[in-house]
Subunit: 351 residues, 2 copies
DNA sequence: CTGTTAGCGCCTTCAT
DNA sequence: ATGAAGGCGCTAACAG
């Protein structure tokens, strides 16, 4: 269904005349203040010097009439919309929620309003949403990871400034940032190895998810570096969700493989894995050590609190917002992203 | 800082001419198709019948030129913006995240895009954000609970249709919905009573939060109905966050009051309380039973899984979106909200 | 069925 | 320092 501008769809009993009580325009203000519209505009935008008395009159009129400039008329004229598009993957994701918060903070006070769409980890849907955003003439675009190809992202950057996270693409109007996922995976696994673990399982993320592949690579590197064999039977497929982690761990236990530790590709998987362990009466960390990835707010409140790799995702959001402001022509203090960091809590123990 | 339209702030090295490659307009399309702009407009909006050959020519031209109508020009003309404002309290909240998802779903395919702002549980900030939204001439507004007074909400509804959750206000352009929080609190407490508990503590939400007060009222009603004294020493102040729950439970334990169960005003508080219990070596549910409120996605993955009251918050989002579409003149199938529901998992036991 | 005309509200030369 | 005039891209009468 597309309700968009279909006049036949006007039905509900809505009092017709209550909306927008005859919007007041620059012209109204000008008349009330006894000046021309141009003068009002100049005061609004600080475009030129205006005599103090007229300025006062205009400001009084603005206040009295409660005038609000129509952003759309302005946009039409200036070509700028004061709106930035944000592509997230899932409005409900606690991880991207934190990135959103960083973006919100980074944009605050800039006059730019974010409009958010979700790609749901689907390249096609994601591209459609971006088209939708672009139809609204956004001034800038932030793409939070996702499945778009670098070429697509580059193509989008032809139309407006773009900041993309979780990838390495740059161009005239294109900036990106990427956290070292491989290092994160390495850190997590290395921690387990240092604790004396030798049989370390891994619950992966989705196969088509680049970050997940990187974490897996880090896991393998740590293993190899320690001279440990990479046992394929110890790597089980998850999906970044609690249910996937639960099933992965259940399968692993059922397989009969022995292991003393597991590194889950994200915290949500770790929650699921921990539940599977709990269901089987396997104690954490006494029998099995668990390491997650992301450091979600809830992870510190698991019992026992989850050892995990902290991604500075809030800062990524901040960085994306600030960088975009820069691309849009506003000077900003640069942000440097803190590195991945191992947060040792209580789900791991020395063997 | 307000970067908005301050020409002095143009600095960063951005290639100047890459943006919006000379936007194509209806006029271009009309010329390419050998018709008038009005005909193009009519085809775009289905406003009138157009001869098949011209339609084909226009559609071909649109495709060839990759034409996208400028929504702002359209808005200027029609007074409609095809965007709705959403006031949430915290983009990072897992609870409101789920509501957002419902709204997203409810709006999908309608042509309306949501633009989201956060009030951060602060009436003043909330009002400011709404003003900001209104400056953008949104076609409709959804207010997710928050601290605005009913009068303020009513005032906003003078300018455009409004749907507000967590309160009971209605008017010509105003709809609201309210879940029975008191009943939820009653259900949670009643469950504990039925299990044989007599000394039941409560961790409250913020004092200025209406929902929290309602849940407390439900707690008291269940107690009273069962002939149990409401011991003020058993009611401790939380703040709907994990840390608040943790501190509240710590204080309770330190107070030396005896209790066998606790009802936390939301799941996040329950997580914190559970952690405090864990720190003191108090077993759940063996020594103390715990009930939460909300049923966050993570709650099923606590160890043990959390017994809680499920709020149909996703459906609330859906309801808000659909109702708003209705107010904006689009017929929608009405949604009925499911009731609050006790979800018994494993943090409560019979005494 | 289709083209012509006239703005929507604002900003920006261009004069003064 | 200020006003008049034109136009951003689109749609909605009004003619034909």
């Amino acid at each position: 269904m597309n309700l968009h501008r279909n006049p036949s769809l006007t039905t509900l009993p809505v009092s017709p005349d209550l909306d927008t009580p005859a919007a007041v325009t620059v012209l109204d203000v000008a008349r009330a203040a006894g000046v021309s519209p141009s003068t009002v505009s100049r005061i609004l935008n600080g475009t030129a010097r205006v005599a103090a008395d007229k300025r006062a009159a205009v400001e009084a009129a603005i206040a009295k009439l409660n005038f609000r400039p129509n952003l759309f008329a302005r946009s039409l004229k200036t070509g700028t919309t004061m709106t930035v598009g944000i592509v997230t993957q899932d409005v409900e994701s606690p991880f991207y929620g934190r990135a959103m918060k960083g973006i919100e903070e980074g944009l605050s006070g800039s006059g730019y309003a974010p409009i958010i769409v979700s790609g749901h980890w689907n390249a096609k849907e994601e591209a459609e949403r971006v088209e939708l955003l672009m139809a609204r003439r956004i001034d800038g675009l932030i793409i939070l990871t996702g499945h778009l190809s670098d070429e697509q992202v580059r193509a989008f950057a032809l139309h407006q400034p773009v900041v993309a996270t979780g990838r390495q693409v740059d161009g005239p109007q294109l900036r990106s940032c990427q956290l070292d996922q491989e290092m994160g995976g390495y850190l997590a696994t290395r921690h387990l190895i240092n604790l004396g673990h030798r049989r370390i399982a891994h619950i992966t993320g989705p196969q088509d998810h680049d970050d997940a592949q990187q974490r897996l690579a880090g896991y393998r590197r740590a293993l190899q570096e320690a001279g440990l064999a990479a046992d394929a039977a110890l790597v089980v497929q998850g999906d970044f969700m609690e249910s996937g982690g639960l099933m992965a761990m259940s399968r692993l236990i059922d397989s009969g493989e022995s292991f003393t530790a597991v590194f889950a590709a994200n915290d949500q998987s770790a929650y699921g894995a921990r539940m599977a362990l709990y269901r089987r009466g396997v104690r954490v960390p006494d029998d099995v050590s668990v390491v997650g990835f992301d450091d979600l707010p809830a992870s510190a409140y698991l019992t026992p609190p989850l050892t995990t790799v902290r991604q500075p995702i809030y800062e990524v959001g901040l960085y994306a917002a600030r960088t975009l402001l820069g691309l849009m022509g506003h000077p900003v203090e640069p942000i440097t992203l803190p590195p991945m960091e191992l947060v040792v809590r209580e789900t791991t123990r020395r063997l």
